[in-house]
Symmetry: C2
Subunit: 182 residues, 2 copies
Amino acid sequence: MSRPWEKKSSRYVAHYRIFHLREDICVSPRNGHEMPAYVLETRDWINIIPLTPDREVVMVHQYRFGTEEMSLEIPGGLADPGDGSMLEAARRELREETGYDSEEVIKLGAVRPNPAILNNTCHLFLAKNAVLKYEQSLDDGEDIRVELVPLSRIPQLIQEGKIVHSLVLNAFYLFDLLQRER
Amino acid sequence: MSRPWEKKSSRYVAHYRIFHLREDICVSPRNGHEMPAYVLETRDWINIIPLTPDREVVMVHQYRFGTEEMSLEIPGGLADPGDGSMLEAARRELREETGYDSEEVIKLGAVRPNPAILNNTCHLFLAKNAVLKYEQSLDDGEDIRVELVPLSRIPQLIQEGKIVHSLVLNAFYLFDLLQRER
């Protein structure tokens, strides 16, 4: 009981700028019924908690097109094909969105943003001793205000619904678990 | 700086079983440039941590079509139009996927699964004193094995990458923060 399904066929239904939509015909191991499954194929994502020497988190405040709301987040985005590694992708996003950089980036873990309909992974990082070194470098689709938030205030901001991005919460949870280990 | 973007126009590009794809033409408040934003419109989601009187979590083990992997999760899914409330939707998913029920369901919070490309919210619940009352009631697309996991083991399973669903981690984090308040 509860095994992988057989994929009988697979085809692309549509291609968009940020993802490809695939339809897989899958066979239930429980009853043999066939069912179409829709999968959004997209590149892996990264995000990163930049922590200053004063234990402040370098957060970004920006408008989000999906929710049509302003959102308080940590830096993050799509890994680029040109990024050498997920860690480099995270460090690039940190530099571009905030101008901060760090020589001490560690991986916190990886999660599946939505195993039901997305094929990708989000890789979560922590940048220790992050310091302001560069100018922000925003593309046309970005308009980002940097905001320093004491790390100690993060749980309250989450509980009050001021930080609501699922993947941002994941990074703070994994960081929290890591700190408790020590 | 960092304000909402003006939506100049909006049209549906495609309709699929689980979402509608919308293209919005948005105007940057920073530089006046127009940019298309793709938004997946979908119903709200719910998930629920069912906790037995022995402090075991009633988890579900199932195959996921997006990641093409087996996944260890808590019950959850789409809210149905017929559900009276998000809490009722959560309790229905709990009953259908596991056969467990609870009279003590409380809301842990709500998150945005992906503010960049999804318009919806995921509502997170806790079911205290969950007990087995019914048979599982699975639809054709489901093949679920119930697994009881001691609550105390959850952080380790997350750190080891055995629980990877972003929204499942969110529920455990909010529950964790709630417990620390007390």
